[in-house]
């Protein structure tokens, strides 16, 4: 049976001897390394070369090891050294490399000529883009050109985009898909703490006793972190509470599933604060020393009309006034509104109030994609501030993100209309810093923000914007009330450039399509939800003429006459850009790790001070930027965080007799974002081939709908027909339906509502009124 191919016995025995010696050495010195050079003769499986990278998909930012063979990525495994995932990935991560090898990969630039796409050279395409931009600026002004990117932009991509548009051209028309997913988290952080991004880190999971998930189906959306929680549960006595509008895998795996009526999370959070104050669970010394109380405007609208403007007017209040305000939110009153039992409200409040329990709150799109998203973020912080459960291991309000570099690029580089890499365009000092580093006259940078994402597409519709460059995202699947914006893009006189790796509904509206190099086909960095910046090298060659988004922008910038600012050399441009960029963040509050550190380690958490990551900010035990003992919320001038008085206000569109159901949208574990990558991974597509509408079993029974039946969904924006799903992946509450948005053949966003949070401008994809009929 054993037919040996090893003819040289002697060398085999030597190898065995070597291996046993190595094993012995490893038990004596864990982590010992032997030079690869010496191991030529060892039997190998293929010639796999394993290289580290952050995962391409979600904001968790798992460390993966990519196996390379003959210049192709052929395998993936979790990086056991990564502090994020400790060696475990999810099904998307394990199959991520397959996303690079779809047959319909874009490999050549395409230009639309007489309604047909014609292959061309990269040089010609870039020339055309540059001349079109120059022409548009000349004819219609600089605010007629715009760029729309995403949290999938690497840090260098976003940085050069901002430098070109804000610094050189002089328009603040820079936005990113992240506006649709974490803008409310940003405004929440800014209003409560004056500084963006979580104070804690994933390690909090290892210390917390209670986890409250605010509308967050972690088992599917952040499975690696959810598994880390489950791992803790198998070791210690912890509780997972799932507070949601729909029964999901997370609900089933948690210790308590609490279902609430959409939008009433605002009231529930206030009721928890009411209980905390009523029962004397307030951490008085913490609140007195470290918190202010404020209120803002109420009845703030929903942004449904074009050119909607809103500016909050914060006003300080006293603790007594705040206490009085909360009297409207007794558990009894809120129970009636939200459908959550008084007992459940008190149950959650008792955990937040118990000084011996460490509590972690986690949330993502449920709280952020909310017409009162900023308020909702504030309200969760209120709970943690009142009880002083913040900025220490295990006590952590934690805002999760969905894109690999939503934090690293969009939030930290600041690819939003009002942002600069450091600070905001409205601030003269911040403009001066940017002008100096960018080597542009300070007058170049406009002090006025222009359009946030929804308004940017509205401006395209109105004709205020004529030229738009879309990189690494798929707005023709993700925009709410999509039809209006698809029609807008097709209008005469609009010029759309799309950089992507596959044909998508967004490339369908393009005048020029540029093939991009993705992920490990180029060099770059991502920044994940826990402030961790991670580097990846180029591991494989991009196909055809594909070019990284960074280099596309640099080539166009040079053609527009900005050679001085875009001096980067092709071989070293990523390093040069990163080193230029981190000058913005110098200092103890936001210092970034040098590139050498990122290359060596599985990323580093900023503020990176004196060679060390800062895992917990605002706490003098861990954060060198604090200037006093204990806590110092240094984002605010007086070092105090803000507890906000934010009331409950109804959703923009609520079910009525014509449209009696709530429509909720979201994601599934198999697909990431719009599925343009994951659907090209056979394993994932076969597991989840198409979208569906989930119904509550009672509703389905009444309407005689069973799984697979065709169902028509109608809203005031339009209608769509899709198959029903009953008692499958999720169970919506009665009179609610849920639809995943990944399927470009069933565009649910055609019928969603483009209402948004007036403060963050982030749309609410989770709530609108819909009619459900069996076809």
């Amino acid at each position: 049976m054993y037919t040996s191919v090893l003819t040289d016995r002697r060398s085999f025995i030597k190898r065995m001897a070597l291996l046993s010696a190595m094993t012995a050495a490893a038990t004596m010195f864990p982590g010992i390394l032997f030079a690869e050079e010496q191991e030529r003769g060892l039997p190998k499986n293929g010639n796999l070369d394993w290289k580290k990278a952050p995962c391409r998909f979600c904001g968790v930012g798992c460390g993966v090891l990519v196996g390379i063979e003959n210049g192709k990525a052929v395998a993936v495994k979790g990086d056991p050294k990564s502090e994020v995932n400790k060696g475990l990935c999810c099904v998307k991560g394990y199959h991520s490399v397959i996303a690079m090898y779809g047959k319909d990969r874009l490999t050549k630039p395409l230009i639309k000529k007489n309604g047909k796409y014609v292959e061309t050279s990269m040089k010609e395409a870039l020339d055309l883009i540059a001349s079109k931009m120059k022409e548009t600026i000349k004819d219609y002004g600089k605010d007629a050109v715009s760029i729309y990117g995403s949290g999938q932009w690497t840090i260098p991509d976003g940085y050069v985009a901002s430098k070109l548009f804000k610094g050189c051209i002089g328009t603040n028309n820079v936005e990113a898909n992240a506006r649709l997913c974490m803008a409310s988290a940003v405004t929440g952080f800014m209003t409560s703490f004056g500084m963006d991004e979580p104070m804690g880190c994933y390690e909090d999971i290892d210390y917390a006793d209670v986890f409250v998930l605010w509308g967050n189906n972690m088992a599917e959306m952040h499975p690696v972190l959810f598994s880390r929680m489950l791992d803790q549960r198998s070791k210690r006595n912890i509780k997972i509470i799932d507070l949601a509008t729909r029964t999901t895998r997370t609900s089933k795996a948690s210790d308590r599933s609490i279902i609430f009526e959409p939008q009433t999370d605002l009231a529930i959070a206030n009721a928890i604060c009411y209980e905390i104050i009523k029962n004397g669970w307030v951490n008085k010394s913490f609140v007195e020393k470290h918190c202010n109380f404020s209120k803002g405007l109420t009845n703030i609208g929903y942004g449904l009309e074009d050119k909607f403007k809103f500016k909050d007017k914060p006003e300080k209040i006293t603790f007594e006034e705040y206490k009085k305000f909360l009297e409207d939110y007794t558990p009894e009153k809120v129970s009636k509104l939200s459908g959550v039992s008084v007992r459940d409200i008190k149950y959650m409040a008792s955990y937040y109030g118990d000084p011996n329990k460490k509590v972690m709150s986690l949330w993502c799109m449920g709280v952020n994609q909310h017409t009162r998203g900023t308020w909702m973020n504030n309200l969760v912080y209120n709970i943690h501030l009142l009880t002083g459960k913040i900025s220490e291991p295990g006590n952590s309000p934690f805002s999760l993100t969905g894109q690999p570099s939503a934090c690293g690029t969009v939030r930290e580089v600041g690819t939003l209309t009002h942002k600069l890499p450091k600070g905001v365009v409205m601030n003269k000092k911040h403009r001066e810093i940017a002008a100096k580093i960018w080597d542009v006259p300070v007058e170049n940078i406009s002090p006025k923000p222009t359009y946030h994402t929804v308004e940017m597409f509205r401006a395209l519709d109105r004709g205020d914007i004529k030229f738009m460059w879309i990189q690494v995202t798929n707005p023709m699947v993700t925009m709410p009330k999509l039809k209006r914006y698809r029609d807008a893009a097709k209008k005469e006189g609009r010029f759309i450039v799309v950089s992507d790796i596959y044909p998508t509904p967004t490339t369908d509206i393009a005048d020029v399509i540029l093939p991009s190099a993705m992920w490990i086909e180029r060099e770059g960095m991502y920044g994940n939800s826990e402030r961790r910046t991670q580097y990846f090298e180029q591991m494989v060659e991009p196909p055809g003429e594909s070019m990284s988004d960074t280099w596309q922008l640099i080539e166009v910038a040079k053609r527009m006459g900005y050679e001085k600012q875009f001096y980067y050399k092709e071989e070293t441009h990523i390093e040069e850009i990163y080193n230029e960029y981190i000058q913005f963040h110098k200092g103890k509050k936001h210092g970034m790790a040098p590139l050498e550190v990122l290359k060596e380690e599985s990323g580093a958490i900023w503020p990176y001070v004196d060679g060390k990551s800062t895992q917990w900010r605002f706490n003098s035990k861990y954060d060198p930027a604090t200037t006093k003992e204990g806590f110092d919320f240094y984002g605010k001038p007086d070092g105090r965080a803000v507890i906000w008085q934010r009331p409950y206000e109804p959703a923009a569109e609520v079910p009525d007799s014509d449209y009696p159901y709530w429509l909720n949208t979201g994601r599934v574990i198999e697909h990431w974002h719009t599925g343009s990558m994951t659907r090209r991974i056979p394993v994932l597509h076969k597991a989840m081939p198409y979208a569906y509408v989930e119904l509550n079993p009672e509703d389905a029974k009444r309407m005689r709908i069973k799984t697979g039946d065709k169902v028509k969904l109608t809203t005031r924006r339009g209608e769509i027909i899709m198959p029903a799903s009953v008692n499958e992946r999720g169970i919506p509450a009665p009179m609610q339906v849920f639809v995943p948005f990944f399927d470009e053949n069933m565009l649910i966003n055609d019928i969603t509502l483009d209402s948004f949070c007036p403060i963050s401008k982030e749309p609410d994809y989770k709530k609108c009124a819909v009619k459900v009929e069996k076809v």
Partner: protein
């Protein structure tokens, strides 16, 4: 004398009590601060940790050989997108609305014959990880969204990993998440080609060494090509 002895014994006990109590009081005071361990993360899966028997009381040696329902190695590999990928779930799943846990473990924790699938359930080598559907997904469709150029690559072969006739073969695959050798090599669902003939011997790695170019696969990415002799 006896009395003195008893008194000194009690004095001694009392002194010990005082010391212990004082110590516990002091450590109670310190608790407000959680010391943070700055060491590198302890991985869920240590490659060079010893082998484990299944914790679930399987008598591997007495498990049936059922030639008629044995899988082939090809079938075993068919469910993987590449060598080392988490296998798909090749059967329909009763309940979509759970993370896996007990409903998967019912069959896959200890194995056994399933009349429904006319096959023996493979045993999971990592039953402590309960969010099964995080990595393993069923297949609902046979069609593709678009064709792919991704090639499966080579899977390790059997019978080419030994030096001599009868010498113990080396382990041709990484053992991350597969510490329990017997769950794949000694159950009724084990493909004939990779079935172990001597499941009663516990310490597999005594004779079978890993042939993946390193002892600790996790260290691979930090390898730097260095010619030692050329240094300084």
């Amino acid at each position: 004398m006896k009395r003195l002895g008893i008194i000194s014994l009690f004095t001694l006990l009392f002194a010990v009590f005082i010391i212990v109590w004082n110590y516990s009081y002091q450590s109670g005071l310190e608790e407000a601060y959680i010391p943070i361990n700055n060491n590198k993360p302890t991985s869920y899966f240590l490659e060079n940790e010893g082998m484990e028997y299944s914790k679930f009381d399987l008598d591997y040696a007495n498990m049936p050989f059922d030639e008629n329902h044995q899988r082939t190695l090809e079938e075993y590999y068919k469910n993987r997108a590449y060598y080392g990928a988490p296998p798909i779930i090749p059967h329909s799943v009763k309940e979509d609305l759970n993370i896996g846990r007990n409903s998967c473990l019912q069959c896959h924790q200890s194995g056994g014959f399933s009349k429904r699938f006319k096959a023996y359930a493979p045993i999971v080598p990592h039953p402590e990880m309960t969010n099964c559907k995080q990595c393993h997904v069923p297949q609902k469709s046979n069609s593709l969204f678009s064709e792919t150029n991704f090639k499966k690559g080579k899977f390790p072969e059997v019978g080419v990993n030994s030096a001599l006739n009868g010498s113990p073969p080396t382990i041709p695959h990484p053992i991350q998440m597969r510490k329990n050798c017997l769950s794949c090599h000694a159950t009724p669902s084990t493909p004939k080609k990779i079935r172990v003939t001597h499941p009663e011997r516990i310490d597999c790695m005594q004779c079978h060494v890993q042939s993946n170019n390193n002892i600790n696969i996790s260290e691979l990415e930090v390898f730097i090509r260095k010619n030692y002799t050329n240094e300084k």
